[in-house]
Amino acid sequence: MPGILLDATEQLLNGLMYGSLYALIGGGFTILFGVMRKLNLAYGSTIMAGAYVSLIPFYLFKVPAWVMLLSSIAGAVAVGFLVELVCFRFLRKGHELAPLLTTIGMLIVIDEAIVHATGAVGLDYARPFGEESLAWGPFLVRPDYLAILVAALACFSLIFFLIHRTRLGRAMRAVAERPQAAQILGVSLRRINVLTFALTSALAGVIGFFAVVSVGAARPELAVWLTGKGLVVTVLGGLGSLRGAILGGLLLGVLEFETMWFLGTSYRDILAFLLLFAILVVRPAGLAGARAT
């Protein structure tokens, strides 16, 4: 294979693996939006909170990676519970943009808590997948990216199973499509909201672990980066569409890696937004097409 094709393929592989992380983040945003019709801007902070909580057992007891993953999930669920309580449950009926602002306020508070606890210095994280890239033929593959892909496959399989094969999932879908009808039929909106929050927060914990492993250090600025990627993917895929989030995440990943390789940093940054505009102009409902709202 000629050199350029090899390079393009390597970046395609990287983009698909890394894009599955984007897909997970978008998935979290989009599930919550689908069910609750609200955007949770504190999601990025919830993801980082989980990762930071997992640092406690790491530094104190040098626990293995799977324990860190579990504690990240636990931490994210705890923080997610707090976010749901303060930013959504306690919020009376008001402007549809009010939850946007309460979650922004929460983002600031969680960020500050992290900065205070860590002194704004990045903290070294576990490297459970090894320190060297795997040589697969002409390609170098990062083992932690492979792990992200596997984790994403597992998470999405679980989520699809939950949503399409369980009663809870059916209730969530009912609330997403027709909230009033679902309520009349006896579904407790409050319960579904809380459970959706728990689900997306657990997902946040998984994302936090794998994202910070791939970066190598836990830094407070990562929350904003995660939020930005999540929003772009969610819009690319269509708000409320899980399939769209997966497509959008993979597309964004591949696009970033290919433009980075061939065109450099400036184009990588601008092209992601131009793609966003293009999708919004050509197919405003997102990649996965119109969804019943």
Binding site: G119, V121, G122, E132, L222, W225
Partner: protein, 413 residues
């Protein structure tokens, strides 16, 4: 109605809190007020807090030795440290707070060049020009290193590294001591002015001047990027002997890990001046092993060790290239304040600042912690009011910054 009261009370609270905490007169209260604006919170907090600690140490030493003699009377130094959070707008408000509410004689800082730009840009540009309404507050900067900041105003003096000179020396040193290493690759942060200018205005001209090394690859990333696979793959292909990683800690650590992952092993890795601090040792000491950086500070003398130890003990402050100048500046200013014949009252504040400013412009050479420092005067053609000082090359060895090279006039003991 109740809600209106609630709104009103919050606004009033905000206004009340902005009220100054009562100004005390200077000579009559026995203090000389010195100020500082640093990044004490937010992303630059590491640098702000270390400068705060080093400056506080110097003030402690001065006050414990009896303070200063001003107008025949013994007075103490009092520090008014304000937080700009590395935010330019807050900096613009804080500088006026320091000048007119805290009423300080001079200010240390800022930590971030992005804050220094607008703050210095709004200072008086022409002394004695009544038509120039810029602020008149003296700055003696310890950290903000961006090129040309001191040129913005005659009220700005800096005790910061001279990067063009440092990298010129580094290139010459490499040519003379590692003549077999001829190829060079460079990484810099395209959205961080300090990094981009270190490449374009310091390193690149130096390489062109010596015409010895061949630059085979230049890559760039954003300083808060998380993914470096493409750039490192390009470095891997370039496979140069010398790698200049002109990057700050947030991107240095992950990019070094990527170098390890892709098995890229340049013979020598040289960093940017700001990397020569404790941050990188805390975040990725393993991959940073062997990294060399130009610096102005290392605990090579008994005095330097003492300062570093005491700063850590008392204030948990890291002593490094950007924080030690705060210590040096405070001690120098003590000497100048005593020489200046100040009245040290609220009314004489502007003229007192001017007196100290003029002395600082003429101070010539003074003693730093490690060696002598020369302050350039106002009419220096290239770098007015910046300093020339000895440079040291430091290297990470066993998770500590150790001395790699010392100039002949600095002795290690």
């Amino acid at each position: 109605m109740k809600r209106l009261w609630r709104i009103g009370s919050v606004v009033a609270l905000g206004a009340l809190l902005a009220w100054p905490a009562g100004a005390g007169a200077f000579q009559s209260e026995g203090t000389v007020r010195i100020g500082a604006m640093w990044a004490l919170s937010g992303p630059g907090a590491f640098f702000g807090k270390s400068s705060h600690g080093l400056a506080s140490l110097a003030i402690d030493e001065i006050n414990e030795a009896g303070g200063l003699v001003v107008g025949g009377k013994r007075v103490k130094m009092q520090l008014y440290a304000e937080d700009d959070a590395c935010n330019p707008e807050q900096g613009l408000a804080v500088v006026r707070r320091l000048a007119t509410v805290d009423k300080v004689l001079f200010s240390l800082g800022p930590s971030c060049s992005s804050v220094a730009e607008p703050v210095f840009g709004t200072l008086q540009k022409r002394l004695d020009d009544p038509g120039d309404t810029g602020l008149q507050l003296l700055f003696f900067t310890d950290t903000a290193t961006k090129f040309g900041l001191a040129k913005l105003s005659p009220w700005v003096f800096r005790n910061t590294p001279d990067e063009p000179a440092m990298y010129d020396f580094v290139v010459k040193y490499l040519k003379e001591n590692y003549p077999d290493l001829k190829t060079v690759m460079v990484a810099y942060e395209s959205d961080f002015a300090h990094s981009a200018s270190t490449w374009k205005l310091a390193l690149q001209p130096a390489l062109e001047r010596y015409k010895y090394h061949q630059v085979v690859e230049v890559v760039d990333w954003r300083w808060l990027d998380n993914e470096f696979g493409a750039q490192v793959a390009k470095l891997r292909r370039a496979n140069a002997d010398i790698y200049f990683s002109l990057t700050h800690t947030p991107s240095t650590c992950p990019s070094f890990r990527e170098l390890r992952r892709q098995r890229v092993k340049p013979r020598i890795i040289i960093g940017v001046t700001s990397i020569a601090a404790g941050e990188v040792l805390r975040q990725c000491p393993d991959v940073a092993e062997g990294l060399i950086a130009p610096s102005n500070f290392a605990p090579i003398t008994a005095k330097a060790k003492q300062v570093a130890d005491k700063a850590w003990e008392r204030y948990s402050a890291d002593s490094h290239i950007h924080s030690v100048p705060a210590y040096e500046n405070v001690h120098l200013m003590k000497v100048l304040i005593e020489k200046a014949g100040l009245k040290n009252t609220e009314e004489s504040l502007l003229e007192d600042r001017r007196k100290v400013r003029d002395l600082l412009a003429r101070v010539g050479t003074f003693q730093g912690v490690v060696g002598k420092i020369k302050m350039n005067p106002d009419d220096h053609p290239v770098r007015p009011r910046d300093v020339d000082k000895d440079m040291i090359l430091v290297q990470v060895k066993s998770a500590k910054w150790t001395v790699f090279w010392l100039p002949a006039n600095l002795k290690q003991n």
